[in-house]
Symmetry: D4
Subunit: 256 residues, 8 copies
């Protein structure tokens, strides 16, 4: 609650326009709601731009359905990640209007709003596809359809260069790569916008389930590369979407 | 070189407007210049928005001065990081117009251009100051003076909340934290914009020179947190500046 | 054996009240009992306040039943942890009076004694529930029903604050969290009592099965946070219960 | 602010007993104070029982003196840790009434209040002394003089047993050990109270600066062992002191 | 081949007692034999006291049977480790005279020779039993029946002491322990003979599949503790057996 | 495109021998081809000597078949690694002319060309066979049949020496070893040619799935040992094949 | 105290031969003595064969001198390890009869007793000498002069073989090696006796201060290799000495 | 000794052309020579192509001079690495004809032989220069002057491409890179010859002194990349030199 809101409310209360109980309730209003075994953050969309996203691992179908229903009631868009095929089928049965994407392991409510935003999404290899699909589904949930370039890792160093011009308008580019994770550095060297690097667990031996790629990206000699967790397609997309949103809002404001 | 540029050049050559030598030189034009023991990327500013920044560790004063002079010739803004006090003094003697910041360990050419941009810069503790100063000097080199909030780590969890409103207009917020690195998650929970988390090597024992903070930030349950290398004040600032630049350009374009 | 006990026994022996054999047996009395492949510590309850607890992993049903039966004979309360569903069913068949909790993976003898103690139990996310349930079952075995607050992680930073007052009387609070493990620091900043942090293996990628949370908690900038092993719901609860027991005893002593 | 406090304040305001400005100020009162480069948590003592403690590493003498002076003004007890000898001398000059302990690397204001509490402090080896001294100075700052037992590591397994009876009344026992860190397990097996294990960086080779001891303690088969960071004498003491405080308060309440 | 052997052979050859072909064959005699996909070290028993032992993981039943048969031909005793139940059954079918031990996962040819040697074998917990059984089967293959003491970990610190006298004649004692691996240190403090510590992967979380125990043992403050690989029951036993063999031989020599 | 190629093409264009469209297409000619979810590097064979090899993990049968067919069209030799038995069977059905090797987990098109080259391939133990088979299949795909020596690890130190003469003509020797990975050092001490060390994940406990072998090989005191990733039979073979190719070409050139 | 000792003492007491005080003192007799900040284990020589050895790191000259003097009084042999040159000089001044060895960093009292025992001591490289010297000084303190073979690492694989015959009588062989630590495996393959492997921190890069050597040794494919801590020359020697002592005693007993 | 050599020698002996002593000496001839604390491998040049190289760390000036003098006597070329400036000066004084290179930290005897070979040497950044200089000095010791390309890391991705043609004739290319170590992958994608990747410790934070670069290189998606230890300029050069030597010999043989 901001100071000026408090002042107005206090005046209303003093003037008898609101009861003491209402006054206290509003000053101390809860921003979360108790579900069966969840404390839902119902203030997230106002505070952060997008509602709470469900991390599906270790949560029951019942829990996820309850959250989705509560968010639908409030008019919030719903997204759950890390949903395996079995859980996906059960969710689909409970919420037939939603979209389950098996490769991405995401479950989300579709949207009818027009798409917006300029985000690039690039993979180093075909094996990185599941993580990229999680990113793409997250962007779609935000309302963005990304420019998608696949399988342009550095072993064929010309491949990225041949398609880099497709990314010249992007507000942010997500680069998904496993093994040595070198593609974000090369992409960063070509591009002027922020590059969100998503290391994947693709590889074997000393890739250590993505640690090699993660370290490579953290140590990128390109200045415009930032990093999220291993296999965090969702997070990479969310960040890129947020950046594009701010540019989009800046354009809209000026245009309006 | 884009296709339409090549076509135009080919026509000019066919028409005899350019010689074969010039034609080949332009198609194959070098984008770097050989200095004594440096291959300077002279195309960086055009390609990436800002010129190459010098990583000062392991470079001699002579090498750095040579790069700065070459960049001055080309009208590029210069910045070097990881410059210790001894090297800083020698550089200052060679290039008296430049600014050496001892705590930040940066050396840069000053700018007369007006500042622009909306970036927040937050530290968890007073011991994180050197990394934050590197970030602040980098932002200044880019032309941005950030909103700076210090020492609001989670052990006093109300401290960040009390000043969070100062960051409500930021295009991006840099959060610098050592030890358990929890502040970016809390900041991410309060803010709608991207949070660039910079882990620091502040701590002892199982902080492992910043690894604990780095891992904490990579695993942040807040969706809008992305991470750069340990003690990478420069990189955190560069990313935040790039984001703000795009918003700034979007505003300017529409306004223009 | 304490000195004064030895003196009394020696006098009795000299006075012929005890035989040499009995005298030696008492001075050297075994404090453990040999079962089939277990050396049961039958002195634990006297020495440490509670009897030995069975770590169920890698132990056969026969071994566990034998220990429970021996403890029942001695009037000791029994608890086994890390019991999977198959083993749980077999144990339940052998000892029908006992309680198997599938989510907690615990097996214990119920108690008729009244509950006592003031312990808080908090989770960062719904996925942390199994570890929290292990903690809750352990507390119940000790005779304590904790105040239980769920899913109040730092991404919705107000959620913990909204319910923190429920913990104001706690002698100790157990905080169970995975991913970056930041909640114990925030809880520690709000609370005056000891906070027992239990890292969980919830997360993915660079969470390294709980290592990120563990390191975060060890490096907590809140002074009142101490840590147990990853997923060690049992141990967190045992410590919290011990602290509450001492406070309980102090009250009882003075009251008595 | 608790609900009943808010209600009372609202009624006073409505009744005209407090002005709107005062009303707002009290509802939104800041709990921290801005120093030069510190945001001091001035509410900590009320909220957590003890005021903020200064982590001295990376802080200037000026910063520390400013914090101590502010705390003195407010009547708070001051303690700073990780103060090397040079900084200690400078601090001593600025604040001659304070006590600098070179081995413990602590700097604190002395107290005239009577001591209270029952805490044990045990070291495995003589080389662990500096960490133990940090713990002892922290306890003294809290008002506790611990029972101190030195150099009773497990290579001479009878040594701890010979003195264990001195700890029978302790509310909590701090065990400081490096190398394999086995002493807390053995102490835990002897004692009924919580054991706070403090791993130290004493050792060489595969001790990895205390990691071996830390892991050993986290995996202790004794149920009553909890762990703090490597070399965290301060934290171990703070936790033990808090536990003893709650027992002390319980006794006092009942007695009162 | 030793010098004096060569001299004698050379003289024989010069004297025509051996042909050139035989002479060369003996000087260059192979010490290994090519099996299907194995280069069997047929000189091992002469050189090292015992024949080659088969590491069963990743080897086919056919390979193992071929090795056993070749060793039987040569009169060598056979042992294979890391044999799972399926492979064990197939081996038993092919070589019915051999002994498969399911818990130990060993397969060996029985021996009719009298037992000899003084070796102790101790476990910290019942869950360490499989590793201890591998050690026991290895000792039996060497001809030794160890003194076996189970489940005497340090959480009940008196348990080891109560049975330590059973080990007073041992030439070497194997101590098998998981979790924090503290028992070898305590045993080392009680015993005068070498202690071979075998860390096990028993534990969870920060035990890291035996790393915590391994590090604990490597850093043991007891001087007489040496360490083998995690879960290396075979190796611990082999070392202890070798030590006992040398003592046994010394006794026999003098007695003879 | 090299400078002299560009000059010639430019002259042809100026002379009207090629159209503008063809001229541009040739200057900017793509070196990759878009398949369904692959960007195939069709220039690899020209640039690097051998066409792109398919990393089979995480790729569908359809994707692999599409790549093989495209390569067949272009006359390129095809190889895929990390193909499990199920995928192997499906591939075999789609491309019956190809060879699936179950132990090696490779799938490749056979060749009718004569073999060439001098490469040695050595294993430390029989359990290292699958990795060695991957190497052997890769060499066969390159057209080389290696000298293959099995199971000559350092525990029988004479075994390698007995067969080392078979490697005296090799241009490069691949040494495959798990556990402590010592064989490459010993081989390096015997041989004059480069030794490509391939660590395997064979071992247990502190082998950490091949990390011990990897580190051992990286730290080899033999100067001629270089290392590839854990279990990277393919890469070891590819490197050795490349070295032999250069020697082969040098001979051919001179001979030609 | 053994049972039969207790029985005899009890009878004496009953018979009035010892007073109650003496009786209790003897049953409960302390086995350690309190020095200034040391609890000296004065029972160690009786229990373990050799008195307590001082780990010098982090101990003051005063502390060490006090321990040495106390041990001299009791007729115990004294040894301190990890004594740097400065401390060594100060100790030498206080105890002029003792021997300080700068390379070994040991300080010990000399002995006049005749040497005994058969121990081998081998280094892989000249840089491993300091650790080997610590081992040699420890053996001398035990009364053993080892067979010492230097600089025979596996890069020159014949070097060890040429001198291996010098070790054929050894009861145990200590092998000191850094880098990849392969020598113990090779030595183990040649020798029948136990090999105590001592990894050293010699190396660079991925040797990780001895971790590579440590892991290599733990994973040795030679069955008779056991391992101590990195740079633990003392411990390796102590173990080897203990083994030789048992063989020596066996010979003496039979001979006697 | 090869079989045919043995046969000839045996015949000579039988024929009385060599004495028994000489015969034995030749069959068993030592291949190493005992210096003060070194066992010099005097057979290395014959066996491996080049004589033993001295790892200078931890070796005294006396030791190194003794080795150099012995090698000079034998006509072997001498090289020592890891020689700091102080040691370098002392060596230079003892052996004035030798060359000390401060940046490379190498000390070697110069050669008058003509250079030969085709090796490329590339650095990612100017800070990698010391490691590259060690490589260059090693190559010079072997007789090779490499093509040297500096500072062409991937942040300016065109820089390598602009100079790649200079490497088209190389038999092997050494790529030296720190930070994320991505350059070898890109180079591997451009080149047909083997790429020897040398990770350097250049970087900070999560570069972990070169581990990030090492892992990146081990996981390179380019098939022709192999790796040596961190900062191992010597080893990278030695390998590349060996490869070039074999090609050189193949050419010479055919030409001859």
């Amino acid at each position: 609650m901001k100071r000026h809101e408090l002042e107005r409310l206090a005046k209303h209360y003093r003037a008898g326009k609101v009861t003491l109980a209402d006054f206290c309730a509003q000053v101390m209003q809860p921003k979360s709601e108790q579900l069966t075994d969840t404390t839902l953050d119902i203030d997230r969309a106002r505070r952060c731009g997008f509602p709470e996203v469900v991390f599906g691992e270790g949560k029951s179908v019942e829990t996820i359905v309850e959250i989705f229903r509560k968010q639908q009631e409030r008019g919030d868009k719903s997204l759950a990640t890390r949903i395996d095929a079995t859980k996906g089928a059960a969710l689909k049965e409970a919420l037939p209007a939603a979209i389950y994407h098996e490769k991405a392991r995401t479950f989300r409510m579709p949207s009818n709003e027009p798409t917006w935003g300029n985000v690039g999404l690039v993979t180093a290899g075909t094996s990185d596809l599941p993580v990229a699909e999680e990113a793409r589904e997250t962007l779609r949930w935000m309302g963005i359809e990304p420019v998608f370039i696949q399988d342009v890792g550095v072993a064929g160093p010309h491949r990225f260069g041949e398609q880099a011009h497709l990314l010249s308008d992007a507000d942010a580019v997500i680069v998904v790569a496993g093994m040595e994770g070198a593609l974000p550095s090369v992409a960063g060297g070509h591009l002027a916008c922020p590059v969100i690097a998503v290391p994947t667990s693709v590889g074997y031996g000393a890739s250590f389930q993505g640690v090699a790629a993660l370290l490579g990206m953290l140590n990128s000699c390109a200045s415009n590369v930032t990093v999220v967790n291993i296999d965090a397609g969702f997070k990479g997309a969310y960040l890129a979407g947020l950046i594009s949103l701010r540019v989009h809002q800046a354009k809209s404001q000026s245009e309006g």
